[in-house]
């Protein structure tokens, strides 16, 4: 039996892990021939990684990236001023002073639109870059990157290629028809606490010695596995990969205590700020797609009170992230995008039961993009005087994802293979019912 155990040890664990990914992917990605990974050499492909800051619930565009200080109290509530920034002509909501000092690093799309006001459908469209209504459920952009830049494409990182801090966003926005192989690794835990107890990787109260002893015991007591060795290969390989993360250097990436207190304070000692810091460390260590799932933007009630609390947090964390990525020389190769599934009704709902809230608004909203080949200091499109509809140059979710795919060297017009006969595209074919404002050539 010992020779069986040492066999596993003798083979390269990572190689086995990779192998199992490839075969499963091949299985999932069906038997039809002619599949080539749709990655193409592209002179504009500058991005190696993506950090997505997902403002779950839908942040208000006119209180953040598209202020309308002249629209009056019914629209602005108490937020009657806007801040000028270090770029002429770009103004921001008054609670975003740190970002105002970094406006040369990012561009703002002020004409995002998909006209849908349901969380689930709107999230689906923004996360996947596909319209709803197809019988097929498409994977989120993170899962596509995981497929095309992850293990199947030779990824050798310490940690999974697609990671969400800290809780998953929900199924409709994740792996879709690609299946659970391409779902994100959700860290769980809270990066603002010490230690950042990443679910499964860092267990409080168990020493590495104890981990090793338990692992040995697990091997010795595996009576069924010893009788039927071949039946549990997949189980063993997955276990080895898991222990590589628990006992290897993987766990160290999440150790935020390795950063200076000064820097940690600049990010903000809260869950969001420290998630931004963790995201930078993950990019540094090769992760390909990181989502920070930042909840709490669905402000039907208590809207302005919530903004007063959350916007400074967002401002501090995001502004520090952009500056810190730039300091580390990572901003040019890392796309950062920040937004939610829609905006919020520009006209404040003062009436009961909302008493000063804002509803869902998919007709026009804003998204921030930076790094990875996106130029900074530009505005794309515009909303009308009250932020109620697109005034200029609409941008649909698929226009944005197609642009990001191009920057990543992924052909947006390439196809997925799947279990049906027709081929399925990375981003949808424009035409018919599907409208488009075109890819964002003006800022790449």
């Amino acid at each position: 039996m010992n020779s069986l155990l040492s066999l596993d040890a003798a083979l390269s664990r990572r190689a086995l892990f990779r192998y199992s990914f490839v075969t499963t992917a091949a299985m999932l990605l069906t038997h039809r021939a002619g599949f080539a990974l749709p990655t193409v050499p592209n002179p504009r492909a500058k991005a190696g990684a993506v950090i997505q800051i997902w403002l779950w619930g839908g942040p208000c565009h006119i209180d953040t990236f598209d202020p309308k200080p002249d629209a009056g109290h019914d629209y602005c509530g108490p937020f009657t001023e806007a801040l000028s920034t270090n770029v002429d002509g770009i103004r921001l909501g008054k609670l975003l002073p740190n970002l105002a000092g970094q406006a040369d690093k990012f561009s703002l799309i002020r004409s995002m639109t998909h006209e849908n006001n349901g969380h689930e459908t709107a999230s689906y469209m923004v996360q996947t870059g596909h319209a709803d209504g197809d019988r097929l459920v498409y994977p989120s952009m993170g899962a596509v990157v995981s497929l095309l830049k992850g293990y199947d494409a030779g990824y050798k990182g310490l940690l999974p290629p697609y990671i969400v801090l800290t809780e998953p966003q929900g199924r409709f926005s994740e792996a879709g028809f690609l299946g659970p192989r391409y779902k994100p690794f959700a860290t769980g835990g809270d990066p603002s606490r010490t230690p950042f107890a990443v679910e499964g990787i860092v267990a409080e109260g168990i020493t590495p010695e104890h981990q090793k002893l338990r692992r040995e015991l697990l091997g010795r007591l595996d009576s069924l596995g010893h009788s039927n060795h071949g039946a549990f290969d997949e189980f063993r390989k997955a276990g080895d990969a898991a222990y590589d993360m628990i006992l290897g250097e993987g766990a160290d990436v999440f150790n935020l205590a390795k950063e200076s207190d000064e820097l940690r304070n600049r990010y903000g000692r809260n869950t969001f700020g420290q998630s931004c810091l963790a995201a930078r460390r993950l990019v540094e260590n090769g992760a390909k797609y990181i989502t920070i799932n930042y909840k709490g933007w669905d402000t039907h009630k208590q809207h302005f009170q919530t903004m007063n609390r959350k916007l400074p947090e967002l401002d501090q964390g995001l502004a520090t992230l952009l500056a810190d990525l730039a300091d580390h020389g990572l901003l040019d190769s890392t796309i950062v995008w920040c937004g939610g599934e829609f905006g919020r009704t520009p006209k404040v709902q003062w009436e009961a039961p909302w008493n000063g809230g804002r509803g869902h608004y998919g007709k026009v909203f804003s998204t921030l993009v930076a790094g990875g080949g996106f130029r900074g200091g530009h505005l794309v499109g515009a909303s009308d005087a009250r932020g109620e509809s697109v005034a200029d140059r609409p941008v649909y979710p698929w226009d944005l994802t197609a642009t990001m795919y191009e920057l990543l060297g992924i052909d947006p017009d390439g196809t997925f293979p799947r279990t049906d006969d027709e081929s399925v595209r990375i981003t949808p074919k424009i035409g018919g019912k599907l409208k488009s404002g075109g890819r964002l050539k003006e800022i790449v």
Binding site: M1, R171, F172, K183, I206, F232, A242, D420
Partner: protein, 521 residues
């Protein structure tokens, strides 16, 4: 390089089951089965004739049978008391008596109801959009039908032809679950579920002909929020409908008749219909993890059954029993084929001809329920959409979750099907590194084990160490520990820094993380 090759060679020799001359303890037995009923014996003969000369595995032990048949029939682990009493029972027909008992337990309908709800895509939100109260009414109807052992033919007839409100006439939700609700979409879900055929692979003519039977289905709103009525839309011009059945025969359907009834009539009664075979094959798939036609929802001429005689026989049995699902299950579960050990005797692909029982990881819901059963743990199942959020009582078992939109992160992690397409392949039982991290080392799983009052009580009331270990093994693995295992455990010392109960807690952790716990075997 050479060393690696040598290691592989040596390990291959060691693992060759050919060398085994005696049953593997505690998983196999030498004792023959008692009386095998005539239908089960017939099934065994049909399987043996198709085994391609591969030697069958031995019979599984009572311990293995008990655990396996609990999991396969009611999706639940046997309790410690159930294990002790079954092992102590000396009667020769105890296995078949157990099958009869399990099929009458309420968990039978819970478990098989979950499987059917996957197929029928019971889900309130995106992309199926049944809406919560309709999804829950539909789920309850499915489980009640299974509890009452409604003949499968009647079950299908209701789903195909029902009329009325989505809240009050639950089976109408079957047609409501089709994406576009046009006749082609309605036909495609009907073909998938009841014929196991994917209309995407059909000729356009065949698709159109099949869709015609759904061309007089109407949908309308009522005054109640999110209520929808499905009805037979009788044509105002009173023109009959010319339609072609899947076997090519032409029918003229009078305007007063619902064409769905005509299709259902053909489907359930025509000798040319594959309805019975498809239904039986799917049950076989649910028991063995691999259909005689695989995938079971991909019947087509170029995907033939691996054992045509067996499939035909199962279909005939199913039809002759008036589509009695429990009777078909009884035939399968009492067969020798079902009761083979999972340890192959010859070196061959495990699923080649049902010559050994194929191991599979427990499904997400069953696994989480099993962990909660042995630890007394709970789990929160909720849906954020639509608002207000839906929460289920925390002591509810995962197999009972009535709506695909209601979930938990553990369910997602372990591959619960999203219920987007109704394909059986949506459910995955792969083992991933993230799943291993969760079971080995996550706070949620570790605290379930470490904080379990149930485990602590069982251990603290044990008169001695041996009995404490017995209780752990009986509860977790449905068997007593072997002498070798006892020896390994007595040699094990956790670090001195750990707490005084640490040793037994480490054993509990090991058992939850062993393939014997995580897989049906």
């Amino acid at each position: 390089m050479f060393q690696q090759a040598l290691l592989i060679f040596v390990s291959a020799i060691l693992s060759l089951p050919l060398l085994r001359a005696i049953p593997v303890e505690p998983y196999e037995t030498d004792l023959p089965l008692g009386m095998v009923s005539a239908p089960s014996a017939a099934l065994d003969n049909l399987v043996k004739q198709n085994s391609g000369g591969i030697r069958r595995a031995r019979l599984c032990s009572d311990e293995v049978f008990l655990r396996r048949v609990f999991l396969d029939t009611i999706g639940t682990l046997p309790t410690m008391e159930e294990v002790r009493s079954f092992l102590a029972d000396k009667s020769t027909d105890k296995r078949s008596k157990l099958v009869d008992q399990l099929l009458e337990r309420p968990e039978y309908a819970d478990y098989w109801g979950m499987r059917w709800a996957d197929l029928l895509r019971v889900k309130s939100e995106f992309p199926v959009n049944l809406w919560p109260n309709a999804a829950q009414a539909y789920d309850r109807w499915i489980r009640t039908s299974l509890r009452d052992n409604l003949p499968y033919s009647e079950f299908a007839r209701h789903l195909l032809t029902a009329e009325g409100s989505n809240f009050r006439s639950p089976p109408v939700n079957f047609l409501r679950s089709a994406g576009d609700k046009d006749p082609a979409a309605l036909g495609s879900i009907a073909a998938l579920v009841f014929l196991g055929e994917r209309t995407a692979g059909w000729t356009p003519e065949k698709r159109d002909a099949f869709a015609k039977f759904f061309s007089r289905v109407g949908f309308k709103k009522s005054g109640e929020w999110k209520e929808e009525i499905v009805f037979f839309a009788r044509p105002s011009d009173n023109e009959p409908l010319d339609a072609t059945l899947p076997d090519g025969s032409k029918v003229k359907i009078p305007a007063k008749d619902d064409p769905r009834e005509v299709l259902a009539q053909w489907l359930l009664n025509s000798p040319k219909s594959t309805f019975a075979q498809n239904g039986a094959n799917r049950i076989w798939f649910w028991i063995f993890g691999r259909g005689i036609v695989q995938e079971p929802d991909d019947f087509r001429p170029d995907n033939p059954p691996s054992n045509p005689a067996l499939l035909a026989w199962l279909g005939r049995q199913f039809q002759a029993s008036k589509y009695d699902t429990k009777q078909l299950l009884r035939t399968i579960l009492n067969s020798e084929t079902y009761q083979l050990s999972s340890i192959p005797r010859d070196d061959h692909p495990a699923d080649a001809g049902y010559t050994s029982y194929p191991v599979r990881r427990l499904e997400a819901e069953v696994l989480i329920d099993a962990i909660n059963q042995i630890t007394g743990g709970r789990e929160e199942y909720m849906s954020r959409i639509p608002e207000p959020f839906t929460y289920l009582p925390e002591d509810q078992r995962a197999v009972m979750v009535p709506d695909g939109s209601i979930s938990s992160s553990l369910l997602e992690l372990f591959g619960r099907p999203p219920r987007d397409t109704g394909l059986l392949s949506e459910r995955t039982t792969n083992v991933t590194a993230s799943q291993r991290l969760s079971l080995l080392n996550s706070k949620s799983i570790l605290s379930k084990i470490n904080k379990s009052g149930q485990i602590r009580r069982a251990l603290s009331t044990a008169p001695n160490q041996e009995e404490a270990l017995n209780r752990l093994y009986l509860t977790f693995l449905s068997r007593f520990p072997t002498a070798d295992e006892m020896k390994t455990i007595s040699d094990y010392q956790p670090p001195t820094s750990a707490g005084k109960n640490q040793k037994l807690m480490d054993i509990a952790w090991v058992l939850v993380n062993s393939p014997e716990f995580l897989y049906r075997h």
